[in-house]
């Protein structure tokens, strides 16, 4: 959390994260280049090393989300995931620049003109121009990298920002096509990496989606419109249960010092799963990036300004009943105090 925009709010964990990432990339490029065999000149080797490294990094960064859903111990990787994305985009741009400076250089045409006119279709599956796929993927990654800062998250709103950044999946699909119609037609060793990464990523997402899909959803009960959320004893102190509604955003019901409060399950920062967080220092704390909100009004403690929707609760005997109509973000609701 930050009260003003700075390029990067460095913390020790962020420095360690980036150092590990850069060390891994350096190891990859060193291993690729130093032990490479085959008649390939240095420039082509650099192009291949950067390109394959970018593909691997993009695969890994896309694996972080589902891994963190499956095992909370991966959450620290998600905390700085945008650094991972920006570094991945930088490596991909390095690959593109290396291509421009070698394959598209030394021509009567300028490198950018050459890039656009050189690779035309053959009319056959083999020979489908693969460069446009790579250009499109890089453009998407550049947009995502440029808008990765919290300023853009706030400016675009989390919902739009999130939708925009799901474009990384389109970029990945384009990269797979770029590789499939390009490098894979000529380089055998790359096949293993591409196959394992792409299939592994699909499997990981399917498994995570399957697990998430199995979580029960609740419909509003007629005629009161209230939803039976849970039993009073189901909510542990300092924790929440998540109520998934069929036609509305999920709601998190927290218990703190015996009293119950209901707020949106979606963090105002990046739509992180607030209900999977816990109460720390009297505030709901998001497990993704540590954003905090007060239980009674869904407002971040001053000087922060984020707000989330609150909900009204009713107690019928031992049953916690939820009014699924959200209050405007930041609306005060008296916490429910069981007798």
């Amino acid at each position: 959390m930050s009260v003003k925009y700075v390029p990067v709010s460095w913390t020790t964990s962020k420095k360690l994260y980036d150092a590990g990432l850069i060390a891994g990339i350096a190891l990859y490029l060193l291993a690729f280049s130093h032990f490479a065999i085959g008649a390939v000149d240095d420039q082509a080797l650099r192009i291949r090393a950067l390109g394959s490294c970018a593909f691997l990094l993009l695969s890994l960064v896309l694996a972080i989300g589902p891994l963190a859903r499956l095992d909370r111990r991966f959450l620290p990787l998600l905390y700085n995931r945008r650094h991972f994305g920006v570094i991945t985009c930088t490596i991909a741009a390095g690959h593109a620049l290396a291509v421009l400076g070698w394959y598209f250089a030394f021509s009567p045409l300028g490198p950018y003109d050459a890039m656009l006119v050189a690779d035309i279709g053959s009319g056959h599956l083999r020979g489908v121009p693969f460069i446009p796929f790579g250009i499109a993927a890089l453009l998407i990654l550049l947009v995502l990298a440029v808008t990765s800062h919290d300023f853009w998250l706030s400016f675009l709103t989390p919902k739009l920002w999130k939708a925009l950044h799901l474009g990384v999946y389109a970029a990945y699909g384009l990269v797979v096509l770029h590789v499939a119609f390009g490098a894979l037609q000529a380089q055998r060793a790359f096949e293993i990496e591409v196959t394992v990464c792409a299939l592994g990523l699909v499997a990981l997402h399917l498994w995570t989606g399957f697990r998430e899909g199995r979580k029960p959803r609740m419909a509003a009960a007629a005629p009161s419109g209230l939803v039976h959320a849970c039993k009073l004893g189901d909510i542990a102190e300092g924790r929440a249960i998540v109520v998934r509604l069929t036609d509305a955003d999920p709601v998190a019901i927290f218990r703190h010092e015996g009293r119950l409060s209901a707020v949106s399950h979606l963090c105002a920062h990046q739509n992180g799963p607030l209900g999977e967080g816990r109460v720390i220092d009297g505030c709901i704390t998001c497990p993704w990036h540590g954003f905090q909100y007060r239980l009674e009004d869904g407002r971040a403690p001053p000087p922060f300004t984020e707000r989330i929707a609150t909900y009204r609760l009713h107690l019928t005997g031992d049953d916690v009943m939820l009014d699924p109509s959200p209050n405007p973000p930041g609306t005060y609701v008296q916490p429910l105090e069981p007798a």
Binding site: G38, P76, Y103, S122, I131
Partner: protein, 253 residues
Amino acid sequence: MSPPDFFIGWDRNSGRAQFRFLALVAAGFLALLAGIGLLDGQDAAPRGLFHLAPPPPPDAPIDAVTLRGRVALHPYPTLFVQPDATHPSLHSVLLSGDGKRGPSIDPALADGAMVSVTGLKLRRGTIDMLVVGEEVHPLPDPPIAAPAPVSLGRWRVAGEICDGKCQTGAMQPGQGLSHRACASLCLIGGVPPVFVTASPVAGASFLLLAGPDGRALADLRRLAALPVVLEGEIERRGDLLVFKVDLTQARVL
């Protein structure tokens, strides 16, 4: 209150519970990248994956040479030099310019004129190329006889259309799909197109391409760097084989 069971970036104590796990993840990440980097660099498929070999030796320096001979402007600028101990018949050297360009030829230069050209010599397989950095100028030398074309008949040959420059060693790899755009640019720029055959034809695996009329071909980008079958007459000119093809008959494999 117990420390949080999840990581919070602004809480210095929150990551300690996962320290061992994160250390393992970091070690696994580094090992994964180093391992895959090692694997990806092993691209000599015929020699097998995981075949570790020392890095290739640095390229030998290329010295400039000066050649004198008869220039043929069609289908593409080629220099024919007198036979010597290495080349018992009239020896052909394809000409190209710097970068992805054809040679700079004086428009007044007549086909068949004697010239002197200085440049860097490239060689791959049976073809030689001279990268000419300056304009080709005529010599007053008495002309040497043009190589008498000898028809080897009509052939249907499988192979790949490459630019003659990268294929002669200016780039490695100088062929294949990943090199397709580069080859297209060389061909656009006027570098002579070469057909690299899947198996030798009359002892050669590199044929200079020409149209059915023996002149330069039109746009080759559609077929460059793809495995194709071409059909046409093969003609021997000195030690150079010229494949006169009709591209409308070309078939992508």
